[in-house]
Symmetry: D2
Subunit: 346 residues, 4 copies
């Protein structure tokens, strides 16, 4: 059994990791870390887990926990991990980080977009970006896994094959993405009250959202050259879900079959990426509660554009279940173990 | 492998049975029956099952299917099964019926509340009412299982221990229940459009709801004498969930511990009925997507009443997962097989 | 023009009063008081009022404001007003209080249910309970109006005629009520986040909700004797709306027409109380955004009970628009002025 | 008093016109036309209007009604009006059409995008496109007003000033728009059930949505040359609201103040178009229930793009209240009469 600690276990992503790992055959959860709920029974905070997880929250440090577990999931605010982590901790246990602290290789880019200083830049090169379908090999051996963001997982996987194959103009991408409210976290803020976000929609972080450089960096690797794009996120009234609609200029004339073939080349063998049938638009509900990403596209001969579409569950493939997928790869388990959920409707 | 047919497989309950059985180790789904969708791929109707269920809908009769499967789930409108079923069909396969056709032993009561004639009253005595926790032994051997309604499962399990132990006045029960919209089915009706049921609440079927005699019959068995009660259902804007609030007059003075002991006597060993901690009110979300029923109570010394509360997922313990639970009992599998889901929030 | 100050103007009820008074012909809003938003433009907080209300929030005391306005609306937490108010303030201006501070005549009852000491009990007898349809005459001359709660307005108006006419057993009332989330206020609490209250339902405050003594007191006046009842509130995922379902034991045999006549006797001339047609159940959406209360009933000959139903908008007839209605009565304006909104669907 | 008939009065847009006109000082509603509800009381269909509109639905023809009213609002399916309308009807009364039948001047474009033949192309030139803020003068005298679509009103008003002033590359516009569910109408379709559209988001009509040529035509007039653009609509789970996010390539370097000045030039005197403060993103809730459109923009120096944003209520400025606004212009009333609603939150 792999011994696991979760820091930030009372946020939505942390709690989802705990729930998933409860059903994982090879895992023993040793620590559910939470400063604000320390000493409280986990099942008293999350009533869904009543009589299922019988453990109290504790407030134990990263350092102290490192010697007692095999892997730590950090579902913590930006800046926390890079402020605490040192190489000697990684000598004792592996880390799967849900924050952006080790996602961006260029420390200046990180510091500019996040507005905070990076305190362990020496670990950046060692970190592996955990988009499982793309970096599977590198993930196997890493000690420090940077789990991708929700908007980013969806945006990148949707555009990746066409970027990789140079089918679209590299700087033409306009990504409009919708997010469910759980992406905003479980903090007590007026802005996330039911009465403030229900029955309304808005864009936010326009031109400044921090997932922008993360998407650009990964798509630049895919393209083999620097990619600049426009990313505009929106908040819509649903619990879970990311929907990315990406408009790009095609470099030439393409038929449906041409593009379909490219998608199948990259995703045909990938269980968790589903390339939908012709003309079917992805819907977030069809991925809810699962590790699936649904992608599709539509060519507009009239405009010369292609519209790419991707949908996933921001707390699953966009956070917790992808983290478990990466965990499985890192520890040599079946990639599906513990995350083989079938999406549920309605 | 048990060979299964599902009639009415494109309604919400039927589709949930199909989804659950896909994850059941001992089941092979042979027929997904739907008149209106016959010939269409099931995964084209339910995008969540894309690349998961690879089977077309067919329109095969109950009779024809009986010889080719071991069990048929009927998720059909009231009156369908009692109009089709004959004893010779039950000689060939067992039936788990989601409708009310064989739930009520007294044919006159059925005909009065449902306003239709019963065409196979000779099978009523043979049918077993499938409230698993209460009728487990009888369920094992039945050929014809009448799976309980959603309001009824919740209402009965919440009141059962106190009725059984004669703690409350038998005719004092006032049940107010809330239901999510999926309980109204997947039919194309103006009344169930998003814009008609979102952001509103209403009572319906006041004094006439058909689950009333079903609850009364079962609680009468529990009490050992005829029980009359007031049942008022309400529709609230959520996908899933039944919340039953039941006010009853206590027969005497009781302390919290007295009542808790009674609940524990009946449910202490039941995995799927969770008696919550003191003063915790059940919330439907904590049961969503699972087979759990959460129950609790609160004594009001001021009024001499006790308020009983129960919550469950109407499509799971209120329909599909309880049907699979009964299936497991009927065929000798572990009762949890295929329905061991942990509720997911948010 | 009547000069108005609003204390607590950045909560949902306070903001609704401000919005309504903006459309009132006889009002000049002088002060929008808010401690936490002092100095900020009101339209920057409430984007719906952009270019409509051009005024900053200020933090001015009750005492200082009293000399400069004709009336103060206090949309403040329980205990605030009774801690600040003295008779000399009422010599200078009239007060319409949205809190419970002066709703309950018996100071012991107040202190017991609210758990706080009352600091100005000498003003309790002078205060008038502002259920407009019932206390219209007394409202005209009062200096201190206690505006009723949302659950209470709905619960009382629904039961009032039958209590008054002694048609139901006085202690048999079981009130189950549903509330939209705006009733929980605009404070930053985890419990009211979208992801915590959407897609779920629960009872709360079971046996202890503070609106209980308020309902009991008013219905006792109606009946002419002390009334005890069971009140159980629930939270459901919608912005606005109270739905009260009240089960009571009839004292004798009644026909539909008998009861209808009684309702018409009390509400036939009341514009804002609509007695619905036979068998129509009130829905909260049909009152949303308006000052209407919709009521109806259904007799159950089988059980001897009557089920009474009422619906209103908790922020309007349950708070702000009833406050303006009372304001109109107090200052001699047409009762409809500023609150003649037609409910909007969807 | 202007005598009014409404054809299609039981759809969401038709019912909203009826509701608004009930509060209009200069209007008498003579006919509420509905084939499917003929003979039923309007208040029995729309409970919000109980005791407010006392009139039955009738099934009277366009032709017969023409002689008896001054203006007819047609809230009918595409193709209805162009199939029925002749010049002699317009001699008798004026028409405000909510469908697309007379919005597009080029009959071939209409027939191609709508897939139906146009039966009265001779009336196309006479029809005036009713975007009030842009075509106010022409609207005054028209007999046939083509009221704009919801996506189109929002998309055009958001881009209009910059198109008109040639600030953006004319063919660079990528419009991603979100719509509430009421835009899909009140028809009984499985696709619009609560359980099918709640808690999910999707794109639809990708590359083929019929509002595309309407937006292109109007922006081409603004630019003075043919404009081609990419329009991708999405469905999100809310009742009302259109949010348009429009990404365009700037023709040169612009500062915030430059663009703000242009917006103010066109909308500074327009009551119903609100240019928000710097960096404030429009939210649909702040326009709900009103005739307002909220617009704003953000320049991205990094990409050379500008992101334009607009929000409105699809049933108001996107349908009913703009129709009444146009009615006011056509009949010489104050443009605000009957539509001076202040948006309501939450």
């Amino acid at each position: 059994m792999i011994r696991v600690g979760i820091i930030g276990s009372t946020g939505y992503a942390g709690a989802e990791i705990a729930r998933l790992l409860t059903g994982h055959k090879e895992v023993e959860i040793k620590y559910l870390v939470s400063r604000s709920y320390a000493g409280q029974a986990y099942q008293d905070i999350f009533g869904n887990l009543f009589e299922i997880i019988n453990k109290d929250c504790t407030d134990v440090s990263l350092k102290d926990m490192a010697g007692e577990v095999d892997v730590i999931f950090t579902a913590t605010p930006q800046g926390y991990l890079q402020g605490e982590l040192k190489a000697d901790i990684l000598d004792k246990c592996r880390i799967i980080d849900m924050s952006a602290d080790y996602r961006i290789k260029d420390v200046e880019t990180y510091e500019k977009w996040y507005g905070i200083k990076h305190n362990s830049p020496e670990l950046l090169q060692e970190a592996v970006y955990g988009l499982t379908e793309i970096n599977r090999e590198a993930i196997k051996d890493t000690r420090l896994l940077a789990n991708p963001g929700c908007f980013t997982t969806c945006s990148i996987l949707t555009a990746y094959p066409l970027m990789k194959e140079h089918v679209i103009e590299k700087d033409s991408l306009v990504i409009n993405a919708l997010s469910g409210v759980s992406g905003a976290g479980r903090g007590a803020k007026v802005a996330n009250l039911f009465c403030e976000v229900n029955e309304t929609a808005k864009a936010y972080g326009v031109t400044t959202h921090r997932h922008t450089p993360e998407i650009e960096e990964q798509l630049s690797y895919a393209y083999g050259d620097s990619v600049t794009l426009q990313f505009t996120p929106h908040l819509v009234p649903m619990h879970r879900g990311i929907l990315a609609t990406e408009t790009a200029r095609l470099k030439g004339k393409y038929k449906y079959e041409d593009i379909k073939e490219i998608f199948d080349k990259y995703y045909g063998d990938e269980k968790f990426v589903r390339v939908l049938k012709k003309d079917v638009c992805p819907e977030t509900r069809y991925t809810e509660g699962s590790n699936y990403v649904d992608v599709n596209f539509r060519i507009d001969d009239r405009t010369g554009n292609i519209i790419l579409m991707g949908a996933l569950d921001n707390l699953e493939k966009g956070a917790a279940s992808q983290a478990v997928q990466n965990f499985n790869v890192m520890f040599g388990f079946s990639e599906e173990e513990g995350i083989n959920m079938i999406p549920m409707i309605p």
